[in-house]
């Protein structure tokens, strides 16, 4: 998309050129907060990818010295940097490996939900008529389901595995986004510049993707970042009910859920994975906020 843009308009003079040539990414790098966010995301991804090289332990290894003689988990410090869990497994290792699951859920599943929601919302909002009606009635129907119950039923029917869980979460979570995007699209579709685009003969896909979508980005970003924690925790709930990711596969959510009753006896078991979820969500929010500002030309040069 941006490649085309640059070709089209790269002017031969200097005044306009530097503005365009600086890509979104390099502009992101110019913002300290966004930089922190990017770093956290990068760190998480690296942690997930390189987990085997980062930790000497196996995530599922229930070590003998990981439990006290009375069967209590080890607190953080010493050999086990973040302590051990109730089975004597190294918590840090599990959080690193758990990032793999949680990234799939928080980013892929959440992303798919966001995508479906946006697509449905945009389509319904832009095309009134029967397509819009059918889509919105379907959204209303989906919205009428208590999300958790629907997820449980779906997951139970489809028999649990990581990708099924991701799919179920995506299937359940798109609805709210669709609703919000719908409202916004229908008001955008009535803006005069859309009419102006039509008058010069712009095709519908062009209007949708080049003109309407960019305006929806702030909303989509807000819902997307808030969705990260929500989906990660929903996965945990499903796991807890036995319709999620199966043990011993770690995910940040199920580490919390497995251990939440122990939060007084072993607070680290809840605190660290919780902090990981929070950090990831915040990081995406920081990047998202920055992206929104960067992508919104009207925000430039303002105080």
């Amino acid at each position: 998309m941006s490649g085309q843009l640059v070709v089209e308009t790269a002017p031969a003079n200097e005044a306009g050129a530097p503005r365009r040539r600086r890509g979104v990414f390099s502009r992101l790098l110019g913002r300290p907060l966004a930089l922190i966010g990017l770093a956290v995301i990068l760190l998480t991804v690296c942690g997930a990818v390189f987990a085997p090289y980062l930790t000497p332990f196996d995530p599922n290894d229930q070590m003998f010295d990981g439990l006290s003689l009375e069967g209590a988990p080890m607190p953080p410090g010493g050999k086990f940097l973040l302590g051990t869990d109730l089975l004597g497994r190294d918590l840090l290792t599990r959080i690193l490996y758990g990032a793999r699951t949680s990234l799939v859920i928080g980013i892929v599943a959440n992303g798919v939900a966001l995508f479906i929601g946006s697509l449905v919302g945009i389509t319904a909002g832009f095309f009134r008529g029967w397509i819009g009606t059918v889509l919105m009635r379907f959204t209303d129907l989906m919205m009428a389901f208590p999300a958790l119950l629907l997820a449980i039923c779906l997951a139970a029917v489809l028999s649990p595995s990581l990708w099924i869980v991701a799919l179920v979460i995506a299937l359940v979570n798109w609805v709210q986004t669709a609703r919000v995007v719908y409202t916004e699209t229908s008001s955008l579709a009535r803006r005069e510049f859309v009419e102006a685009e039509r008058s010069i003969g712009a095709s519908t896909p062009r209007i949708l993707f080049r003109h309407i979508l960019p305006h929806l980005l702030p909303t989509i970003i807000v819902w997307g970042t808030l969705g990260i924690s929500t989906t990660v925790l929903l996965e945990a709930t499903l796991s807890y009910l036995g319709v999620g990711v199966q043990p011993p596969t770690a995910s940040w959510g199920n580490i919390i859920f497995e251990n939440q009753t122990y939060f007084q006896a072993a607070p680290w078991l809840v605190f660290f994975p919780g902090a990981a979820i929070l950090a990831l969500a915040l990081a995406f929010n920081l990047v998202g906020d920055a992206m929104r500002d960067i992508l919104d030309p009207t925000q430039r040069g303002r105080l």
Binding site: D140, L141, A144, P146, A147, V180, L226, I256, L278
Partner: protein, 306 residues
Amino acid sequence: MAAYLLRRLVQAVLILFGVSLITFALLYVLPADPVRQIAGRAASAQTVENIRHQLGLDQPFVVQYGRYLLGLVQGDLGRSYLQRTDVSTLIAARLPASLLLMVGAIVCELALGLTMGLVAALKRGTALDQALMVGSFVGVSAPQFVVGLLLLYVFAVRLSWFPIGGYGSFSHLVLPSVTLGILGAGWYSRMMRSAMVDVLRQDFIRTARAKGLKRATVLFRHALPNAILPVIAMIGIDIGLFMSGIVVVESVFGWPGIGQLAWQAIQRVDIPIIMGVTLVSACAIVLGNLLADLVTPFIDPRIKLQ
């Protein structure tokens, strides 16, 4: 108005029909046999078949669903397999508590979320704004079970300000509402902030200030009603998300609502209860949305129902 209501009600009925059909179908293909649980572990195969037949569970899907619908239109939600009671009785006994909790939670999350959002919008760009943003994410990311227990431990056990769980008086309602509210507050504060930032930029706010109105008047009488619209739409959406929270929070606080009922029913595949709870929540969601839509014209007279 009457026409609008009528149309919306017809729509609602259709939606509920859809919900019942989908849920029923999902539960039908669920790999668990409720009859086994009823019959108990000492039952012979014959007894099991006997019970299956009595419950009509040996019939094809269409017949089963048809019978369920027939009961439904007569207000009969069926009988719980395991509790051996009418589902409507069970739900009726627990629904008031859940509704109360829902109201409490909505009040809480609005109070908390709107305040946070308001302050963040007013202090936009400052450290306080950033802190509130982090706070809202903490609210969204914190597992409710832990939050609930923490609140319980601090405010009920240690400080004895509130009873340790239970149901009955206003003081019982506070902690569970707050626990549920903290999550919602995270969402609402984000929405409120952006809506408020938008509204505060509007010309009519400047007009209000030019009249020499008090800051509070400008904020609450002029800005808030304009900013609150997206929030109200959100409440409609929110009710659907409540069920998830209610399950956990009700169990932590021993709140006798339908969340606990649903949880137990899911564990034991008590299909009539799952159906009943789903339908009742669907009703609540549909009504909530309708209510939100009905309220908006009062807040923003430009919006006409059609």
